[in-house]
Amino acid sequence: MALAATIVVDGLIYASWLFVVALGLTLVFGVLQILNIAHGSLYAVGAYAAASAVGLFASLGFAPVFSLLAMLLAAMAVALILGPILERGLLRLFYGRGEVVLLLVTYALFLILEDAVKLIWGVNPYYVSEPYQLFGNVAIGPLFYVGYDFALVVLAILCGAAVWFGLNRTAVGKIVLAVIHNHEMSASMGVNVNRVHWMAFTFGVFLAALGGAFTAPMISVQPGISVSVIIVSFAVVIIGGLGSVEGAAIGAVTVGLARAAAVHLLPEAELFSIYLVMAAVLIFRPEGLFQRAAARKI
């Protein structure tokens, strides 16, 4: 029983981290039909920006609790600067040329951003572990957890709820859903599709950067952190169905629990467990758990 509880707690903590990143990935795909490989680099930029912002706040004499605000502002700054530039300045030029071309463009962007990060922040690691201590420790059974891990769970729930509410209960959300369903029809009804595109992409960048910013206190921020997150995030959105918010949530929890169970019960199968779940879903539902099969437009 204690083992089951540990697996659930570990799985949910891992899933919350994964969900914040995967949510941005699936949102961008849903609106722009872009499988954004550079999403991992934007996560890394968020982590670096958060490291710099927390350092700046500390040097200005702010109390440690303000480091959370610093991380949030860093993610917003990354999104507001990079989102419009990348969507309007680069991706827009390749719309209509097929998903494969856009995939290659985002891969190129991934490589460019990797080097840009090194140019700006160098290759030495950054540490911002102060926020990690803010919430103290929590005892669950015989094990101690860091309170920050549970703050991440709350953050993931807030992000998921905000995106769901925004899409389903607001006028802007209805417009975005209309664009997701049919670009041309939305444009003919007077929707400014270009604006929806850059806004959705910028929000996707914000979620990637937010994931990186709130992960920064748990790791040493250094070159290379973007690769592992993007691979697992792809698994999550494929399990849930590309473009589905609910799917990303279920996919993240599924991957988190599968991985936690494997680490505790069969550590050799840790990586295998994630892709086993993905393969099983694809066999029975090739479009993912929450994606309806759609007729192809001719």
Binding site: T6, I13, I219, I225, P267
Partner: protein, 440 residues
């Protein structure tokens, strides 16, 4: 005007030919005056900061000193036997397939005279057969898997640093000599050649030195995992006297940053086979009392010799941080290559040696390095053994750095197998022929 045209027609090709010939001659002269050296190390990716970049900085310092002729004796001759060293740096990031292609480019396009490189065990296993096929000289300077020369034989390939066996045997011997209680031990290692080989050596060593100790959790997260929350729960759930790990670089830093606040190291002795390189960056976040190795007698555990003073102080002055294992290991490779080039040149009348002459000079050679004597005693004279040191961490608030204390040095023959014996067989046989403190 009419007389000028033929002159121009003549002049252009003539000038072009003259420039081409001059360039060729200059190139030929340069090829004889310099030794072009390919250096492959991680310049990007998770292994860059703690291994690849210090290795590059170490290479730049040593090559600069050698080219000026200002290294201490017996390395005070300019460059390699009077040939200026001309380094070509290549990034090791990108995987084994890319590295094989890059190695071919170095030999066939850049026309390098030799290559020194490779930190990743996976890359070493991939590039060694490629160099052999091309019949070009290659020194592997860092990677740890024992399999390279235990599962194949090479003529043109050498490794100038000891493999991972010594790290784990030395850790076991250190714990035994310090009476560390080990009834049970947990392990966390990366899921690739280095992690698996290190784990196998450590488990076999424990079976010899602590026959009653029971291995428990055996975790193998992927390289670059970043998130270790679940693994930390698994390690905490199966309480053990010792937690062993061969994690390194960003993975080791993330593991320590996440595990220390959860109290994982309060009830278990932390034992790390290759952790010196994270001490400068982790600082006070590094737990006190951890038993760590540096894959040699390097950095804060290096011997007090004029050669080490030259390297340690020179590097520190240039980079404002003390040198870690990556910098030491590339230095011993470059000094070994210098010895081999100069020996080969002595035997061929002072000309630049061919790969065959270089390989013959390198085989079974010995030389002094900042970390101690390097001896090419294993793998038919192609694999080095070297001394190693183990110590315990303590953060010194006055110095604002982690220091190492209770350091124990081990002779090379105490922690490495004899020639013609596989490492794992040697450990399982109870270390036959090991010479510790001058005794067998």
């Amino acid at each position: 005007m009419s007389t000028g045209m033929p002159f121009r027609w003549l002049r252009r090709p003539t000038l072009a030919c003259a420039f081409s010939l001059a360039a060729l001659l200059q190139g030929a002269a340069q090829a004889q005056d310099s030794f072009k050296l390919g250096i492959v190390t991680f310049l990007s990716g998770p292994a860059a900061e703690s291994f690849g970049v210090p290795a590059r900085h170490g290479a730049e310092f040593v090559i600069g000193e050698l080219n000026k002729g200002s290294a201490p004796a017996p390395y005070n001759k300019v460059g390699f036997g009077g040939l200026k060293i001309e380094p070509v740096f290549v990034d090791e990031n990108g995987g084994a397939t890319k590295q094989v292609q890059e190695l071919r480019n170095l030999y066939q396009r850049e026309n390098v005279d030799a290559v020194v490189g490779y930190i990743s065990s996976g890359d070493c296993l991939a590039v060694a057969p490629a160099a052999e096929e091309l019949k070009r000289f290659l020194i592997l300077f860092d990677c740890g898997t024992p399999r390279i020369f235990e599962e194949a034989q090479y003529k043109y390939v050498f490794r100038t640093a000891a493999h991972a066996t010594q790290d784990n045997v030395a850790l076991g011997r250190y714990m035994k000599s310090r009476n560390v209680k080990v009834g049970t031990f947990n392990m966390i290692n990366q899921d690739y050649a280095w992690g698996h080989d290190s784990k196998a050596d450590f488990v076999a060593t424990m079976q010899q030195l602590y026959p009653d100790a029971k291995p428990q959790a055996d975790l193998l997260p992927k390289f670059g995992a970043g998130q270790y929350g679940t693994e930390i729960s698994a390690l905490a759930r199966e309480k053990a006297d010792v937690i062993y790990s061969s994690l390194w670089g960003g993975d080791l830093q993330a593991f320590i940053l996440q595990a220390a606040p959860r109290g994982l190291f309060q009830n278990s002795q932390l034992v790390l086979s290759a952790a010196d390189h994270v001490l400068p960056s982790l600082g006070e976040k590094m737990p006190n009392g951890a038993i760590i190795g540096a894959r040699g007698a390097y950095g804060l555990m290096s011997p007090k010799t004029p050669l080490n003073d030259w390297f340690f102080n020179g590097y520190q002055a240039q980079r404002n941080v003390w040198p870690v294992q990556g910098a030491y290991r590339i230095t011993q490779a470059l000094l070994g290559l210098k010895v081999a080039v100069e020996k080969a040149m002595e035997q061929n009348g002072g000309k630049k040696p061919t790969p065959e002459q270089l390989a013959a000079a390198m085989e079974n050679s010995e030389w002094e390095s900042p970390g101690g004597k390097i001896q090419m005693k294993l793998g038919n004279g192609h694999q080095a053994i070297q001394p190693i040191a183990i110590g315990r961490t303590r953060y010194d608030p006055a110095k604002k750095m982690v220091i190492l204390e209770d350091i124990q040095h081990f002779e090379a023959e105490c922690v490495n197998p004899p020639a013609h014996m596989k490492s794992i067989d040697w450990i399982k046989a109870g270390f036959p022929g090991a010479k510790c403190d001058g005794r067998t």
